[in-house]
């Protein structure tokens, strides 16, 4: 009983640390924070990858909505652009996951990694 309670508080503490780190990361970079949460959920709480990804996705709904609201207070959110990007992206993700189950994405992944690096350079030098 006491052991279970201790384990429970341990778990909550870990969730709090993971959430705080993910929130910081998300707010600082404008991303969801999944790349922080997924590995930590697996490492600290014994999650399988699928559950870690799904659970972090659900947490991202809260994180991104809240961080976007705070950014809104700073006057940085372009609401129309956000919707014009975000809503079609839903369709894009569905297409992407559909494709992923039907083709080998190995060379695409490598190609895309190169695109990421080129874009990073473009960001810095532009």
């Amino acid at each position: 009983m006491a052991l279970a309670a201790e384990e429970g508080s341990h778990r909550s503490l870990r969730l709090m640390v993971i959430g705080t780190l993910a929130g910081l990361f998300s707010g600082l970079f404008g991303v969801g924070g999944g790349s922080v949460m997924v590995p930590l959920l697996m490492l600290w709480l014994g999650y399988r990858e699928r559950a870690a990804t799904a659970t972090s996705l659900a947490a991202i709904v809260f994180i991104a909505a809240f961080a976007a609201s705070v950014q809104g207070l700073y006057g940085n959110v372009r609401v129309l652009d956000g919707l014009l990007v975000g809503v079609p992206a839903v369709g894009g993700v569905l297409i992407g996951t559909w494709l992923q189950q039907r083709m080998r994405s190995r060379s695409i992944a490598l190609l895309f990694a190169a695109v990421l690096v080129v874009s990073a350079v473009e960001l810095v030098v532009r």
């Binding site: 970079f29 950014q71 372009r78 956000g82 809503v87 369709g91 992923q100 990421l116």
Partner: protein
């Protein structure tokens, strides 16, 4: 307007195909193709992530993959960090934030390459047959 839709669609396809988060694609897309500042792009990306994450969560929840109690706790416990992260972003100059983001993109690229190489040919759809075990 068409630009934003294309950025969203393309970023979505890549995110779904490669399992990369949408945000790391939205931000450079918004800066490079839509001419937003780094701060605007990050803020707008956060908004764009919301519908993607909602639909993704609903789908995953149908498969029973979402640990709801943990997700709720994680979400609520992350809010202070998220607020602090946004405040930090706004305390930094656009140039510093941009360089940090560029570094993040390179890290994501490196991880993607490592993951891809580690997966090897077994990435093929299941039942790859004898060919799958040859390499």
């Amino acid at each position: 307007m068409t630009g934003a839709i294309l950025v969203g669609l393309a970023a979505g396809v890549v995110a779904g195909l490669l399992g990369v988060g949408g945000g790391v694609l939205f931000v450079p897309g918004l800066v490079i193709f839509m001419g937003l500042s780094q701060h605007q792009a990050e803020a707008t990306s956060l908004l764009a992530i919301v519908p993607v994450a909602i639909v993704g969560t609903l789908r995953q929840d149908r498969y029973g993959n979402v640990v709801r109690a943990d997700a709720l706790l994680l979400g609520l416990l992350s809010l202070a960090g998220a607020g602090a992260g946004v405040a930090l972003a706004n305390a930094l100059s656009g140039a510093v934030l941009r360089d940090a983001f560029a570094a993040l993109m390179v890290i994501v690229a490196v991880q993607l390459v490592r993951r891809t190489l580690a997966q090897g040919p077994s990435q093929e759809p299941e039942g790859g047959g004898p060919a799958a075990s040859q390499r």
